[in-house]
Amino acid sequence: MIYTPSALAVTVFGLFVALTLGLSFYFAGRTRSAQGYFAAGGSIPWFVNGVAFAGDYLSAASFLGICGMIASYGYDGFLYSIGYLAGWIVALLVIAEPLKRMGRYTFADALDSRFKSRAIKLSAGISTLAVSVFYLIPQMVGAGALVKPLLGLPHWVGVSMVGAVVMLIVITAGMVSTTYVQFLKGSLLVLFSAVLTVMVLNRGLTTEPTNPGYRPPRATREVSASAIESLTASDLGLANCEVLPAKGPWRDRPYLRTRDDKTGLVTVWRKTPVSDSAVMYYETQTQTTTAEGRELVNGLPHGVGPGETDFFPVGHIERLPEGASHTGPLGPIGFFSTLEQSQIMLWSKDPVKIVDDGATTTVFYPQLTAGSDVLLPGKSPTFQGIRGDDLYAKLNFLSLMLALFGGTASLPHILIRYYTVKDQAAARKSTVVGIASIGFFYLLTLFMGLGAMTSGVIDVSSANNNMAAPLLAKSFGELLFAMISAIAFTTVLGTVSGLIVAASGAVVHDLLTSVAGLKLTDHEKVRAGKWAAGAVGLLAIGLGILFEQMNVSFLVGWAFSVAASANLPSLVMLLFWKGTTRQGITAAILVGMVASLAWILLSGDTFKDVYGLPATSALVPFSQPGIVTIPLGFAVLVVVSLLTREKSAAVQSD
């Protein structure tokens, strides 16, 4: 869909960015030392740190990605919410306090506190950089996707803008300004998501959304399934048009085409079974690239000028229980129980492109879906395997849920936040505040996603439906849209700042000071940190532009799997097994990182989405590595530790 930027949205957006930068400059004067720059001097109050956890963690993938996935497929997006939050329990109960006790600046600090080993610093520093960069790419891609409709700017401008603003935030005041930006963004995100949810519940459910531009797809009369070879327009109850013969590539597809008598416009209809003996046809939306390279939407040139057209927003409830057309305001329980008994019109994209006379057509079609089906796991392509009998598909699901569970507590940008508070009790309390804010937000994702699904705001042409939440806000007015979009943008800023601080900390403390043995003064460390932040920022901009077409949630999955496989075994075993040796830790990090990356690169998802090869030629049986590579990390750590035990005890100080 083509979005026209509104003056209000641009103004609110500008105010948010100004506020964010203002905060950074305010704190810049206070940050002089390395401890101030990298760990905010351990001075952040626990409540602020707790909300900043939410601001750090609730990335664009959480807000835009999860809401978009729920709006497209229902419950499946909520599986991510559940897994992401459960990961915090591992962080709170297992990792938080020992980490705070042992480390000072970086995740490698804590791992290395017992051994003082250069190899541990090097491997942990590399894994921090790898995970941070993997996590940065989807944030930057998300920023580009957001700026495009909001400000009408191309993708690369959006990515560069985010990069520039974030580099300013991080370079001016490091962890202090980053923390307060995250605090601001965390509070606003949770608050405005709550406002949006209350508005969704207050509006209730309706079969007739009033969103501007929305209209339901037209439907034909029911016809006998045996008579579809020779249908006429009047058989279908359509006037002023003729049915085109099913020739060429259209012959074996479930479509029927009609041509308007006056305008000559061709409409594509999708066959939908009504019973064993009857079918009907629903109007679809099409996107065609002609042999000359022009883009057509629904048969007309794509645009907003005269003689042009754009996709119309869709997604509505076809039937409410007892034939009602509006429910009026609903409570949370009433919202779900009504949806369970409703019929929802969901839209899908036909994966098969139709090539006819040099023109390539993609068809987006509506499907009547039971509400009870939408409220169950397994509707999306990612998770549909769990409804079948294929064991590998089920293992893939278990593997992802395991990576989400173990990944949070292994993400370097989350771990470093434990160093910004003064003691273990503050680390604990801030985690509780973090869990409360994040859990409350995830609860709201289901209402926002399902609200978007049924409010006539869905953009069929958006591959991942990432704009579902902002577009839902738009159905309540421009101001809310402007606020939610600006918050989403600040969301990217907050998370990217945290990642860049984590990465620059790893470069300065783990790689430069500890591994390369450079002796830096406090002031030089801050300066090196700023240079590192600038370099990582530029790298992130470059990768964000390069990976424009990559699916955001797919990349986040990579980051979680690599973090869980590389870091979790060492963190846990160091805390709970006295036999752990430095060689064991180093080996576990390297094997976990390389194995999970290799698995991902050889998986069906990567073959299909990245290399453009058939998923069936993949070299590993399922795509998510966690269930294999996390236990592998533990096994390598135990075996290597046992083999090197005595030697290590003798040379413990390396």
């Binding site: 351990g42 559940i82 939050l85 306090e97 006790r101 604990r428 859990g439 609860l443 043995g517």
Partner: protein, 91 residues
């Protein structure tokens, strides 16, 4: 090994080893309970999808109730842990 020590931020070793050990034990017990609850959800979703479709209460299916219970339980576990540890800190 002084050159490894680049000064700056202090570590937060503010509690006695005995308190740390007690906190770790409580944490581990709560962790096992929550992990079992989470594993139950994941295993039912993977191996008995029909169970998730059942509507135990108020016309809402088990998938939604269980999902919300997991979010609520995370908060509850966090509160219990925080409360128990605080009582220990004080003692």
């Amino acid at each position: 090994m002084a050159h490894w020590d680049h000064g700056g931020n202090k570590t937060g070793d503010d509690a006695s080893p005995a308190t740390n050990l007690r906190n770790a034990r409580i944490g581990m017990v709560l962790f096992v309970i929550y992990s079992a609850f989470y594993a139950g959800f994941v295993l039912i979703a993977a191996f008995s999808p029909a169970t998730m479709a059942e509507r135990p209460w108020a016309g809402i299916n088990l998938a939604i109730w269980y999902g919300f219970a997991l979010l609520g339980a995370a908060f509850l576990v966090a509160m219990v842990y925080s409360w128990v540890c605080r009582a220990r800190d004080g003692s």
